[in-house]
Symmetry: D2
Subunit: 385 residues, 4 copies
């Protein structure tokens, strides 16, 4: 059973490879009545796009989507949304080295092992270019979330040994994130990240990092125990992205060295004159979603990252993912041929010296897809009325 | 859409709460012909069981499964395996405090928020007792994996600030793990963990930790890009367990501060006279599974944790999860009532001061469920013959 | 991928065989807040039960369900509903003939072919006794449907060459159906059916028939094109029952000889002073479901059986299924052994001479499961508000 | 939860409407290694195509597929197969009448009721043009089935009161079916059908019929009790097609008037010198699928239509579907407006006077999709080796 569909009620199915005609994406289960046009998809696609700055690859990819169905007279009509992206940067190139040698850190060998052979033109299906479909679908999901007062935002928390101090993740704004090509909302830290990435690039190397992602306005009650807990589905969503080797939420791995008395978040009454569950809902004056269930409580701290028992608590959801350094580096590396003979390989092409800045919209998209799926799923958890 | 089924081809569906008559577990999709009896389920259930040592809760739970169907004349017969566990420790108790107050760190509030009310007798559905079903199903999965030469083993890597040094995770044996109640395979470290847990218990507190899990003998080719990558499904499986706040594999979060030139695992030819993909297969002289696809290569190091592009590489799968300190501690804690009034709560009952030792078989079970599911799924990825 | 789960949002998973300890049934996805007790399940289970009259088998089966979870203080609590049935009529019998010979019309051979061997104690998994779980789950579904003003009712339309004339299927009442053991609402026809079944039984034979099923109060809008059309899911549900060889709805196979001008149902305005879509809703004064979408139209006739384009139209859903004569007949029949040698077999035991009367609650249950699943699914087809 | 994906292991997801840019189709789960090109899809697409004869609509639709991914160097590569069809016959027309009035027999009203509004340009998503994707996917499925020695063939059994006498459905050849535009393999009957359809067309009317479908070479063991029985999934597949109001297999509705002694198919030894389960396998000299499980028996007759207990028996699968007369007829019909006002409508455009001839490849495609899905599913029902 192959795995190119994501989600249960809001389902995204994709196809496509980096050096074929293009990518197809079908979103099935988007509720009818959502205002939607190609323009809604473009901002996040631009953030994902290569060539934005010297921090990212200079490849020229056409990331303009075409919506072939599912939208009628400016609104989703309940039928599946068909989106396609044409590939433009298909150089009829010489893939010889990739064809017969396994690039370290890439999926060349594992695709061969799984399917018996592989599309050796670039990464084929394992190319990160497939995330155009995810980001487009995520943009649709974000529009639905906005109607429910939910906002998803990510930023670069760490690159190499440069770590941003973000005391209140929920206070970060999109403008702060987009202010620098590093996508780190702390200006000084962003400058250090840029300098580090630049030096790594000059050194013909790459560097890893951490992306932090925050969802505010999430009503309590999302998540389906015992297997489809919200934390589990968020973890899966982010780990399905290329280059992600770790996921944590709330206090994360730091809980290993904490005591229960220090880690437990105590419940307190909601602050007066404030909705405890959707601090950003006020930004969303077009909200049409049904009123949130009332949440008579909040927690004083948020080491639980907005999820208890795998169900959202109404507190902000905060998580982090570890992204490895780009596997493609402009250096000769040892490897073997398909026949198992030792050799060396020099991976050609233009690659990001650090994946983190472009990762941000991908991470946001996956969070958004999970949240909208669980928002729709949660509607069946109680009798209406 | 509720979430009490796990897996696609090897599907586990469970029901039950901590203070009702018992738990039901239906395994659908277990191939016919597997030798199976209740005895096969007992060892891991005993490892999961409360009351094993002073490190674990002294509650007495009857964890004896009854197999009601799916096994005929000693073998699975292809029909769904029905298993039930009777609850024996149902004290007709006074749940008053839990009924009206939210225990910090627990799912009391979020269940109320999601479903409108909740079973307040203990944790109800969110009680970790539901993992009896997972461990039983995992034991069945392990039997299938053994036929394919795959072994899954976990151990306690960290408790508080005590961290075990395990240079070769694949060399750890079940005997080493079970040698101490800490389930840490390094004897000196195990002793320190035991001392730490004991002091925490005396201090009426709890402590977190890290469990490391290893799967050896995994053939290359398991995992279904782009969404059902093996790393994504393993992450989901482990994050669906109670108290898990983080998951990482291979180098994990350490990649954030690594360069590509240092992180990439270079490919090398297989060692002579050795099967590169299934080092433990020789242990399994009853293997009946089809021969592994040949793997002409291996990697010199294993920072990729046995997965590239979300597909197993034939190298050992190594991952870690962060487990929070037990939320139930024998101290008075601040909280609020269901009506939102500030109050204090003293959680009664007997609880593990550290979840890690009993977590090991739960983590192993989830790994086993994912691997057997993907083993079955992988059979459809190529034409036969 | 095995097939023991039915439904997408209201999911029923079952296990069990006729001669093991019993059957398990887990209903996942029942919304919280539904009043439910064992008593709600009993009426339909009694209708399904063997031994009701001389028309049905005289086997004594214990069909008393135990609810182990999912209901708390009289209401569903959102967690999976675990139900079990103990088998009581397990004679430690001599199954020798079945063990080695294939009963004509039964699944003995196909189970052997699929799984390599089979449980030869009675029908094993293929015994119609598994429908106890379906009928219990269907009773839960009916309770939800009642809240939405939907009623499902079936009756015996035909036995052999005796055919009931039911000019208005929506006017049939449960009392009329239950008035005779034939479950045919037309008294004279029922009497003829009873006489026919009795004569067939005396002749050591069995006889087939047709069951007609009607759902009233179904709001327009249920069904999910293009693959999960309501007609497709109803067809699958009924064809999954033992002994069903055909399904049709509305005009059914009669359309083969109709012209479009005669078959098309013309649209007309709703009748004054009448809700066009839910004629039975008035019976349901406890309805808590959200108000139906307004339906400004109805059709003058109902050859479309309440579904257009695979979506419910608001008109009554009417369908029929063909049920074959019981395969077990008290006569010697030719067959072969497992080794392929010609032989004869005399099937022992007590069997229904006609399956139709007991089929009615099974058919109703499957209709109810499909409708409640699509009712829940339909909530995601539009933005709320 | 929307319904635009079909299948479990061989999964087809589609999008598109009749008057948008085109249709997308993603096949996920096609095993790697299958030789495939656009040419493989064309024959069945041509059979489905409008404008083949005066019996079918004269619309000109471009049914040329483009394969965008999933095939590399002439073989499927395990990644999802992306196919697109461009719409060419998009007249920027006047849809006024359809926009505000409900066409009798069509899904206009039910789409409005479900989604709040609808694409009124032609049938939108409910147009039968969506079956281009099904037929293309079915052609891929047929190629896999051929490797396993399985052949699927359909033909027109009945149009109006003209019924073909086909004593041995398994003896019909594709050439016989394609010999006339009626797609009835009996020449005399085909001529009568053509005359009838022609007279109906002259009469500005339409006519219904029955399509019979046969699968030979199906090994015993396909089908997954108790819910995903082969008969249930075949029924769902065919009922998901537009205009189908009934499905039956084997003796079908005729069992209602049969006795068990006459209906039971007795088992007999296989005929000497003949493989009992795959009569057509000899035609398939490229078969690479694993050898069939041995089937030591066959049945003397085939009233069970090749399925017992919902599992294939090795005997030919034979089923029939009832197809209604085309709803679009060139006559004025009574109806109501969206506002519920009585009116008349004259549906414009060119429509098939009888759907049956073009239905044949659609029905075959759905059978093929089910069989390949269950063929892949069945590989998990036993331990390998």
């Amino acid at each position: 059973m192959a795995g190119n569909t994501f989600g249960k009620l809001f389902r995204v199915t994709t196809s496509g490879v980096s050096h074929g005609p293009g990518y197809l994406c079908i979103i099935d289960g988007c509720p009818a009545g959502l205002e939607l046009s190609v323009e809604d998809l473009l901002p996040d696609l631009r953030r994902r796009r290569p060539g934005q700055s010297k921090l990212t690859t200079q490849r020229d990819e056409s990331d303009t989507p075409e919506i072939w169905s599912g939208v009628f007279e400016g609104k989703t009509d309940g039928t599946p949304i068909g989106i396609l992206f044409r590939n433009s940067d298909q150089r009829s190139g010489d893939y010889g080295d990739i064809k017969d040698k396994y690039r370290p850190g890439h999926a060349d060998f594992t695709f061969d092992a799984k399917y018996g052979f592989r599309d050796y033109r670039g990464g084929g299906r394992s190319s990160a270019r497939e995330t155009v479909s995810r980001v487009a679908a995520g943009a649709v999901a974000k529009k639905i979330l906005a109607l429910a007062g939910i906002r998803v935002l990510g930023y670069v928390k760490q690159v190499g040994d440069v770590i941003a101090d973000v005391p209140d993740p929920t206070a970060v704004t999109l403008e702060q994130v987009e202010a620098t090509p590093a996508r780190c909302p702390v200006p000084d830290t962003a400058a250090k990240m840029i300098a580090l990435i630049d030096s790594v690039r000059m050194d013909r190397d790459s560097i890893g990092g951490v992306c932090e992602l925050v969802a505010t306005g999430v009503p309590p009650g999302l998540g389906e125990p015992v297997f489809d807990k919200l934390k589990a589905d968020l973890g899966k969503a982010l780990l399905s992205l290329p280059a992600v080797l770790g996921f944590e939420y709330g206090a994360g791995f730091a809980v290993a060295n904490m005591r229960g008395s220090a880690n437990n978040d105590v419940f307190v009454p909601p602050e007066p004159h404030e909705s405890p569950v959707a601090p950003d809902a006020a930004d969303c004056n077009t909200a049409v979603w049904e009123p949130h269930h009332e949440a008579p409580v909040r927690t004083e701290s948020n080491r639980h990252g907005g999820m208890l028992g795998g169900i959202s608590s109404g507190m902000p959801i905060v998580c982090r993912v570890a992204v490895k350094p780009t596997s493609s580096i402009p250096r000769s590396q040892r490897t073997v041929t398909r026949a198992g003979e030792p050799t060396e390989i020099l991976v050609k092409g233009r690659h990001d010296p650090c994946l983190l800045p472009r990762f941000v919209p991908m991470g946001e998209a996956m969070i958004a897809l999970v949240l909208v799926d669980h928002l729709l799923r949660s509607r069946a958890s109680r009798l209406p009325g």
